[in-house]
Symmetry: C2
C-alpha cells in the first residue's frame, strides 16, 4: 500500500456516474416514447427521417458507442443488429476501405446498430408470448400500433417502467423454490422459535478473483432485483412443500410462506458492471432474518456465473485489444439452455460484440452473428447440384450467369494463387455459389472443409470476384481448424496478391474470422506471434470458463438484531468481516483506482485529500496511509419499500460502464502474467472491532 501515499491533489467526490445515468435514462425514455407513441416506420431501409432522429439521439447522447467503430473496422456484420419492434435503427455506413474501389453508392454489406432500445415487451418465454398473442393480432404483418399496445399494457403495472429500461426478461425458473432446501428448513426454525422478524444484514461477496487474475466484473444485479421484486410462492409450491417436508412442521408456517413477499427488504449494491475484488460485499441485504436467509441461494446463483463469465469475457477482450471483433459462439457447450442464454448476455456485458444465440438476440437485444457450417458445404457434391445458377445484378437488376462467372474467375485465379483450378472441390464451390446467391450482401464463407489454401480460399475468391462483377462485395471467410496464425497470414497474403492483380484494393481487407477451441491463452499467444485475424468466434472455453469454472460467492450473516456477527473458521480466509459496513473506492490524481476501503456503517465518510490509515483486514502488520484524490461511495440503494429505487441501466450501458471501470485500473492489476493484487482495506476502527469479536468467538483450548 506504500505507493498510495504520494497522491495529494484535491478534488471533490463527484456524482459523475449518477449524472451520466440520469442523462442516459432521459434519452432512453425519449426514444421509448417515440416508439410507444407510434413513430411511423416501414420495412424499407431507413431513410432521411430515420437518420435525423438518430442524429438527434446521438447529439444528446454525446458519445458514439464503440460498437459502431468496431462494426466499421471489421465488416463482420453478417446480419443486421436490429432491435425488435424498432425499425428506426439501421443506417448504411461505408466499409472501412477509405476509398471504395467501386462506384457503388453505399456499401450494402455493413449495417450498424445505433441505439440499444429496450425490448422488454418481448417476453423471455414462450408461454408469456402466448399469453400476449391475442393482443398482437396478425403478427405476420406487424404494425406499430399493435406492438405499442403491449408496451402500454406492461407499463400499466407498477414498476414495470423500470423493467422497460433494461431490455431483459427474467427466466421463469427463477422463483422461490429455486433454492437449497436448508433455506426453507431454516426459515421454519426461525419462524418456530419466533425469531423470524429479527432484522439481519447479509453480505454477498467472494474470496478470490477468478482465472488467476486480480479483478472481477460484478454482474447479475438486475436479475437479483427482479427476483426480489417478483418473490412469491405459487400455490403449487406451497402444496409441494406441505407434501414433502417433515410432517412435524406446523401448518400455519405454510400459510405464512404463501403470503410472503420481499417488501421489507433493503438491497444496497455496487452497480452492475463495477470492477470488484475479494471480500467486498457486492450486495448488502437488510431485513427480517427469515426473508434475507431465503434469498441466499438464488442470489448466489444469479451473481456467481454472471460475474464469472463477464470477467472471462473481459479478459478475452483484454487479450485481443479493442480493435478485434469478439463473438460468443458457446450455446452448444453451455450448461443447458439457460446456461447458454446467461453466457450470451454476460459475455456481451463483459465486452464481446455479438453472439450466435438468436434467442439472446431477441431477449436482450444483443447483435447476432453467424455464417454457415461444414454441413452446408458437405450438402453439395458438385456444380450439377445447383438448381439456381444466376444472380441479379445489384445495380441493373439484370440476371447474370453467376456460376459461369465464378468458374471463369477460378481459372483466372489459378496462376495468381499457384493452384490447379480443377483441383478445388466443386461441391464446396457449389455451396459457396448457392450461399452467395442467398446472401449476396453478406457472403462470408467457411473455407476449411476440404483444404483451406488449395480449395477453400480459391473457391471463396472466385465467388467474391464474381460477386464484384455483379456489383456486390463479399465480406470474408472463416477458418475453423489448423494453425490459425499461419493460415490467417497466408490467407491475407493471397488477398493482397489478388487485390493487386484485380486492382480491387478492398479485397486485401476481407474479414478473416477464426474459430476452433480458442481460449484466453490462444489469444495471448496469437497476439504475440502475429496473425491477420479480424474476428474471433469463441465458444467452449468462454462459456464454461475453462480456467476456473465457478466463482465462489458466499452470503454471510454479519449483523442480527443490531448485534454484529462473525463467522470464524479454521481457514483464516473464511472469517467474515462483521457488522454493517460501507464501501468506498479511492482514486489517485491520475484517475486510477488506488484501493478500496470498508468502514463501519456509522463512521464518517472518508474525505478527499485527507490522509487516513487503511489496514489489511486480517494481518495486523499490514497498514498504510492513503490520501485519495477522489472518493467514491460504491453503494447504491437499489431496493426498498417494495420497489426498485433507481432506473436500471440497459445491458449496453452496463457494458460501456464495465469497460470504463477496467480502464480505471492500473495496468499492473490487469496484466496477464503475475498481476499485482488490488488492495481492499478496512479502517482502523473496523479492524479493532472485528478482531475483538474474533478473539471473543474462539474458545481457548486446554493443552493436555
Amino acid at each position: 500500500m506504500a505507493n498510495t501515499e504520494t497522491s495529494t491533489t484535491i478534488t471533490t467526490t463527484t456524482t459523475v456516474v449518477a449524472a451520466a445515468k440520469a442523462a442516459t435514462a432521459a434519452i432512453a425514455e425519449t426514444i421509448v416514447n417515440k416508439v410507444l407513441l407510434g413513430e411511423k416506420s416501414s420495412n424499407k431501409r431507413p431513410g432521411s427521417e430515420t437518420k435525423s432522429l438518430l442524429t438527434n439521439v446521438n447529439n444528446k447522447k454525446k458519445k458514439v458507442d464503440d460498437n459502431i467503430q468496431k462494426s466499421i473496422s471489421t465488416g463482420f456484420d453478417h446480419h443486421h443488429h436490429h432491435q425488435y419492434n424498432n425499425r428506426t435503427k439501421l443506417v448504411d455506413i461505408c466499409p472501412r476501405s477509405p476509398s471504395p474501389p467501386l462506384s457503388i453508392p453505399s456499401s450494402p454489406s455493413i449495417d450498424v446498430e445505433i441505439e440499444n432500445l429496450p425490448n422488454s415487451s418481448q417476453s423471455a418465454l414462450r408461454t408469456d408470448c402466448q399469453s400476449l398473442s391475442s393482443d398482437l393480432g396478425d403478427i405476420s404483418q406487424p404494425s406499430f400500433r399493435e406492438s405499442t399496445s403491449i408496451h402500454n399494457t406492461l407499463q400499466a403495472k407498477t414498476s414495470e417502467r423500470v423493467v422497460l429500461m433494461t431490455g431483459a426478461e427474467q427466466s421463469s425458473v427463477v422463483q422461490p423454490l429455486l433454492t437449497d432446501l436448508y433455506q426453507i428448513s431454516m426459515a421454519y426454525a426461525y419462524w418456530k422459535s419466533n425469531k423470524h422478524q429479527e432484522i439481519a444484514t447479509f453480505d454477498l461477496y467472494f474470496r478470490k478473483n477468478p482465472f488467476g487474475g486480480e479483478y472481477t466484473l460484478f454482474a447479475g444485479l438486475e436479475e437479483c432485483l427482479k427476483f426480489i421484486r417478483d418473490y412469491k410462492f405459487h400455490p403449487t409450491d406451497i402444496e409441494y412443500l406441505r407434501a414433502t417436508l417433515s410432517s412435524y412442521i406446523e401448518s400455519e408456517f405454510f400459510d405464512y410462506l404463501s403470503q410472503l413477499n420481499m417488501n421489507e427488504i433493503k438491497v444496497y449494491a455496487v452497480p452492475e458492471g463495477t470492477v470488484v475484488f475479494p471480500r467486498l460485499p457486492l450486495l448488502r441485504i437488510e431485513g427480517p432474518v427469515l426473508k434475507t436467509q431465503l434469498l441466499e441461494t438464488t442470489l448466489l446463483t444469479l451473481v456467481n456465473y454472471a460475474s464469472l463469465v463477464a470477467t472471462n469475457a473481459a479478459r478475452f477482450r483484454s487479450a485481443t485489444g479493442a480493435d478485434k471483433t469478439l463473438l460468443e459462439f458457446g450455446l452448444r457447450r453451455a450448461q443447458g439452455p439457460d446456461g447458454g442464454l446467461s453466457a450470451s448476455k454476460y459475455c456481451y456485458l463483459g465486452g464481446f460484440d455479438g453472439t450466435s444465440n438468436v434467442l439472446a438476440g431477441k431477449l436482450y437485444g444483443i447483435p447476432i452473428k453467424g455464417t454457415h457450417a461444414h454441413a452446408y458445404v458437405n450438402s453439395y457434391e458438385c456444380l450439377e447440384d445447383l438448381s439456381e445458377r444466376e444472380l441479379c445484378d445489384r445495380l441493373s437488376g439484370e440476371r447474370r450467369p453467376f456460376t459461369n462467372l465464378c468458374l471463369q474467375y477460378l481459372n483466372e485465379l489459378g496462376p495468381i494463387l499457384k493452384i490447379l483450378p480443377e483441383e478445388t472441390h466443386k461441391g464446396e464451390l457449389a455451396a459457396f455459389i448457392s450461399y452467395a446467391i442467398a446472401f449476396p450482401t453478406n457472403f462470408l464463407a467457411l473455407v476449411d472443409t476440404y483444404d483451406v489454401l488449395k480449395s477453400g480460399v480459391p473457391n471463396f475468391l472466385a465467388v467474391a470476384r464474381a460477386l464484384h462483377e455483379c456489383n456486390y462485395q463479399a465480406v470474408g471467410l472463416r477458418l475453423d481448424s489448423g494453425d490459425l496464425a499461419y493460415l490467417s497470414m497466408k490467407v491475407r497474403e493471397k488477398f493482397h496478391e489478388v487485390a493487386i492483380k484485380f486492382n480491387l484494393s478492398y479485397m486485401e481487407h476481407f474479414n478473416i474470422v477464426a474459430s476452433n477451441d480458442i481460449n484466453e491463452d490462444t489469444l495471448v499467444s496469437l497476439e504475440k506471434q502475429g496473425h491477420a485475424i479480424d474476428s474471433f468466434g469463441i465458444g467452449t472455453h468462454l462459456v464454461t470458463c475453462q480456467k476456473q469454472p465457478a466463482l465462489g460467492c458466499v452470503y454471510k450473516l454479519v449483523e442480527l438484531a443490531n448485534s454484529p456477527r462473525i463467522k470464524v473458521s479454521q481457514d483464516i480466509e473464511k472469517v467474515t468481516i462483521p457488522g454493517k459496513k460501507n464501501l468506498y473506492r479511492f482514486y489517485g490524481h491520475d484517475g486510477k483506482a488506488l484501493c478500496d476501503l470498508l468502514t463501519r456503517i456509522d463512521e464518517p465518510e472518508p474525505q478527499t485529500a485527507t490522509r487516513m490509515l487503511s489496514r489489511h483486514p486480517f494481518l495486523e502488520q499490514k497498514r498504510a496511509y492513503v490520501t485519495p484524490t477522489t472518493v467514491r461511495n460504491l453503494y447504491v440503494l437499489y431496493w426498498a419499500d417494495g420497489e426498485i429505487k433507481v432506473p436500471l441501466p440497459t445491458l449496453k450501458e452496463i457494458r460501456t460502464y464495465a469497460r470504463e471501470q477496467i480502464d480505471q485500473l492500473r495496468k499492473d492489476h490487469i496484466r496477464d502474467l503475475n498481476p499485482t493484487p488490488y488492495k481492499v482495506s478496512v479502517t482502523d476502527d473496523l479492524f479493532q472491532f472485528m478482531h475483538k469479536l474474533w478473539m471473543k468467538s474462539v474458545p481457548i483450548g486446554e493443552l493436555d
Copy 2:
C-alpha cells in the same frame, strides 16, 4: 481387440431391455391409474392400505430400488421424499441400527420413497402453473379429485401420455430460436436454392470421453424429443427474424418458417442412460435437410451438458462405491438458474441420491436434502436468545425442559469428551436447541462454525442425548471445513465413546455428512486414507465439471439425397464416418461389453456366435476378429410420424439402467488410473466404403 476373440459361447440376442421396459411401463401405468382414479389418501402417515398397494407394486416390479437400501443405511433423509400429488408413498422403515435401543415403535426419522411416480402435471414453469391454477381450485387444501382433472386434461392431448411417464417438464427457453444464427441462415440458403426437401441424415456424437476416462453416460434424450415434438416458431419469433435478418431474404421464407414442424423427421437414438463412447452416433436424425439442420444447436445444447454432468456424477459414484449417500448441492455454483436445474436432474441420473435444489425436487421428483447453514448458528449468540426452551415428549406429549436437559447432558459429556463444557459456544448450542425443537425427528447439525471437536460435537451430542430423553433420535452432523478424513474419524471415535457411556449403541452410527469443495480426487483420496463419512454433499466441482467443463458433441451430415457425405479435415479425428449406419454392442459370455460395431445401414445384423472382422475406423492395421455371445442393437426409433414412438422411462428408471450399464463394463474401462479404452469398430464393408470416399474428397496437391 485381441482379447475379444476367445468368447464362443452361444446365446441368442435377447430383448431383455425392451421387455423390462414394457413391464416397468405397465407397473407405472397401474400406479398412475390408481392415482388418477382417485385412490383415497389422507394427510396421516401411511397405514396398512398404503403398504399393501406398495407391496403389490414391489412384487410386480421384482427388484427393490437401490435407493431404499441407501436411505436405510445412512439415515440422512432430513425430509421425506414425496412425489407431489401422490400421498401414498411414504412408509416408515426402521433405522439401520439392527437392535433399536429405545422402545420407540417405529423410527420417526427415516422415510423412504418407494416409487417414482409421474408428476408431469406440475409444470416446470411459473407461467404454466398459473394457467393451470383455475383448474386446481383451492390448492391450499389439495384433494385428489381436483388434481386428477389436471392429469386427465393433459392425457387428452396427443402423446401427452408419454410425457406423463417422465416426470419432467421442458424449460420454456428450449424453443426454435435457442439456436445459432447460422442454422437459420443455412435454412434460408437451402430454401432459396430449392434444396430444402432433400432427405439428410445427421449423426450426433462426441470425439473424446470426458475427464480422462473411457466412458460416457448418454443423457438429455427426453428433452431432445420434447423439443422436436413441440418445435414451432412463435409469431414473435418470426417478427424478430424478419426485422433482424438481411433485407434480401424473401418474405415467403418467413411464411414457410412459421408453418414448420418436425413431423417429417425420424430420430433413432441409443436409450438415455446408455454407456457410450467416442464416434458412436448417439442420435441419428433423418429428414428434410432444412429441418434436420435447424435442430443442430439445440440438440447439442441438450445432450452436451446433460451427458457431461451425468458422467461426472457416475464417476463420483464409482469413487465412493454404492454404500455412501451422494447429495448434489451445486445450485449456487451452476451456470445460472437452469444450469442448476440441469445439474440436479442429471446428477441424479448419474447416480446421486438427492439434491438440495427444491425446484428440482418439485419438477423431477428427486429426493431433496439439506440441513442448515452457518448463518443459522451465527444467528444465536447465547442461550438467552432462545424464546422456546421446551419440547414435547414424542410418546407422552408432555412438555419437557429441553434446554436444561441439554445443559445437563453437556456437563455429563465434559469428562467423556475431555472438553470444558463452559467453553463450548453457547450461541451454537442455542442454535442447535432451536433447530432440534423445530425438527425433533430430523436433527442434523452443522458443527464447524466455531470448533468442531471443542464446541460443535459436544453441543451436538448434548442435544442428541436430550432428544433421546424426549424419545426422539437425532440423525447426525455435517462437517464443512478442515481435514475431513481426520475429523470424521475423530468424530466417530467420540460417537463410539458416548454410545458406550450412555449405553445407546445407535449413537455410534450417527450420520456424518461432509461437504466443502469435494471433487473426484478428494473422494478417491478419502477412500484410500480411510474416513468415517456416510454422506457427501457436493457442489461446485460436480456441477461445473471442473476436470473438463464441456463435452464436445458435434452434429454432422453423413448422407444427403441417398448419397453419403464425408467431412474430411486436416485433423484426422475430425473426419466423419459417412453414410447411414447401424450400431451394435457385443457382449462376452461374462455379460460384459466386448466392443461396439458400426455397420452400413444395409448390412445384415451381426449374429451371435459368429466370428466377424471388426476394424478401427481410421487405422487400417488395427483389426480384430470378434465372436459375440450376445448382440444388442443399440438404436431405438424414438420419433417418427410426428409422435414419440415408445414410452419414455422415468428419470429414476433411467438412473437404474445407467448403473446397470456401468456394471456391464469391464473394471479396467472404468478404473480411476489409466483406464483401458473401449473399442468402437466398423465392419470391413464400412471401412472400405469410408476410405474410398475419403480418398476421393482430398485433392492431390502439387509439390513445387
